[in-house]
């Protein structure tokens, strides 16, 4: 899931200030799940921006251009009337909405990470989309997302009692978790094995997959 959090209202008011007609678009997938851009949050935002909101729509997946076309088709008039779109979704959704609407986009949320949802309000980063998954050899623990230094050959000297010095020893050391998992699995040889420097070229430029 893409985890997002609302921008401070003050900042949203500042960004929407120059516009008279704002369309608010929420997300029916991730932002609905984490309660930052679902039906309820979209309506609450409309209340806060009273007087300048031309309408509200929750698109099933704003990051999917096809779904934007489908879900905003009935609201085309609102889109045309608006001079800006306040997007309560992740950055990918916001940019796809701009592609579809052609309007000025105001991001209402900050995109935080790809994470696990434990319960509403408890989210944990679990993937950095590094383009080279190592979970098989780290006991199912991602050191890129969960080690504060993203080390491939940890742990560093900053672990105590299995906790990481970053965050004042409140978070687990990813490499101690990996060690424990691999030990339980009888695969400690994978822990000791040296992982050479990564080829980071895949992440050194904007990524696209264009198959046809």
């Amino acid at each position: 899931m893409i985890i997002t959090k609302p921008k401070p209202l003050e900042r949203i008011l500042e960004m929407t200030e120059p516009f008279k007609r704002v369309l608010i678009v929420g997300c029916g997938t991730c932002a609905t799940e984490v309660q930052t851009g679902g039906d309820k949050q979209v309506k609450e935002m409309a209340e806060k921006l009273k007087g300048k909101v031309v309408g509200t729509v929750v698109v099933e997946s704003p990051c999917d251009l096809r779904i934007d076309r489908r879900d905003l088709k009935g609201s085309r008039k609102l889109v045309d009337e608006s001079d800006a779109v306040l997007a309560l979704c992740c950055g990918a959704g916001a940019q796809t909405l701009m592609d579809y609407t052609g309007k000025i986009i105001i991001p209402g949320l900050d995109t935080l990470f790809v994470g696990k949802i434990e319960r509403i309000g408890n989210y944990y980063e679990r993937c950095r989309a590094c383009a080279d998954c190592v979970l098989f050899e780290t006991g199912g623990i991602c050191p890129i997302a969960r080690c504060a230094k993203g080390l491939l050959n940890g742990p560093c000297g900053g672990q105590a009692d299995g906790k990481c010095e970053v965050g004042e020893y409140t978070h687990d050391c990813a490499w101690v978790l990996a060690y424990n998992a691999l030990k339980d699995q009888g695969r400690l040889d994978l822990f000791t094995q040296f992982r050479p420097p990564r080829d980071r070229s895949a992440k050194a430029q904007p990524q696209e997959i264009v198959t046809r």
């Binding site: 230094k149 050959n153 940890g154 900053g158 105590a160 060690y179 420097p197």
Partner: protein
């Protein structure tokens, strides 16, 4: 132990079986090199080399490479150039390693580096393009094969020894030992440990290290005041400062006469650490002691003068 050629006085002394002492110098946020030179001079004749820290606590200070060069050139004090993988990607690390070799630096110490969240510029991006194991791997390629990570040829020799850090206080210790083993297999030349105060965990760690072909230099931190010792005891996980040493420093803390206080603190430190060093030297296979007398360089002489007569080349 190591069969590789020794380029530095540090490695020559270790290979000759001498019990070595190394010191520590911390460049600060300044363009003034006088302090670095003064501290190096205070160590001269007592230690075989001085580590030069690389932006400790992720604070932006004067370049460790510059200070390493200056203490070698101006003072004749061999440097252990500390390099963290926190602030530079593989290109910049490689480039600085070439620079170090070109300037006659012979020892580098590979460190992850304190995380940028502790920085005096906490908004900085932590780099960690490569980790310390990969750093050792890169240095070996440079020294042994004369190439960079991609196999591109280097002009001239790279005569560097690469050291690693080890943490005797790590809990759990097993993953720490496996990590160390990984770096030793890659070809690390020497190890310096994190700060230790207590004998038993130090001995336990040194016993574990006996199975590895690497010289281990044990890190100690003389305490300039009761506050420093208390800080280590209360704030550094895994580190506990022995009660008697703490008590003695606490008593001195109340002395009003400044000169007497200073003298008393030095005495307590010399007493405690002399016994500590003697015990390490006598009962373990450690290759020496790394003294982190940061801001307390006046202690180096009284602490090691008797030992160093036998140890320096």
């Amino acid at each position: 132990m190591m069969t590789r050629e020794a380029y530095s006085e540090l490695m020559k002394a270790i290979n000759a079986g001498r019990f070595v002492f190394t010191g520590e110098i911390e460049p600060l946020k300044t363009t003034d090199l006088d302090d670095v030179i003064r501290v190096a001079e205070a160590h001269k004749g007592y230690v075989v080399a001085c580590n030069v820290t690389d932006n400790p606590k992720a604070c932006a200070y004067l370049s460790s490479l510059v200070a390493s060069y200056v203490i070698q050139k101006e003072v004749g004090m061999e440097a252990v150039y500390q390099m963290t993988v926190r602030d530079r990607n593989r290109l910049a690390l490689f480039s600085d390693l070439l620079g170090a070799a070109a300037l006659g630096i012979k020892n580098v110490l590979a460190l992850s580096g304190d995380h940028t969240t502790y920085s005096d510029n906490p908004g900085a991006m932590p780099v960690f393009d490569i980790d310390t194991a990969q750093f050792v791997f890169m240095v070996r390629k440079m020294v042994d094969e004369g190439v960079d990570l991609e196999g591109n040829k280097i002009g001239g020799d790279v005569k560097l020894h690469v050291g690693i850090a080890g943490n005797p206080n790590a809990d759990p210790l097993e993953p720490e030992l496996l990590k160390i083993e990984r770096k030793i297999d890659l070809g690390a030349d020497f190890m310096q440990t994190q700060v230790v105060f207590e004998m038993e965990p130090t001995k336990r760690f040194l016993k574990e290290m006996e199975k590895f072909p690497i010289p281990v230099i044990v890190g100690i931190f003389p305490c300039k005041s009761y506050g420093v010792a208390k800080f280590f005891d209360e704030n550094i996980p895994g580190v506990s400062v022995p009660g008697q040493f703490l008590e003695k420093l606490k008593k001195i803390d109340n002395i009003e006469d400044k000169e007497l206080k200073k003298r008393s603190i030095d005495e307590v430190n010399v007493d405690y650490f002399t016994d500590f060093i003697k015990e390490i030297k006598k009962t373990t296979h450690a290759s020496g002691i790394h003294i982190m007398a940061v801001g307390y360089e006046r202690l180096v002489k009284p602490l090691v003068e008797d030992f160093s007569k036998q140890s320096l080349p």
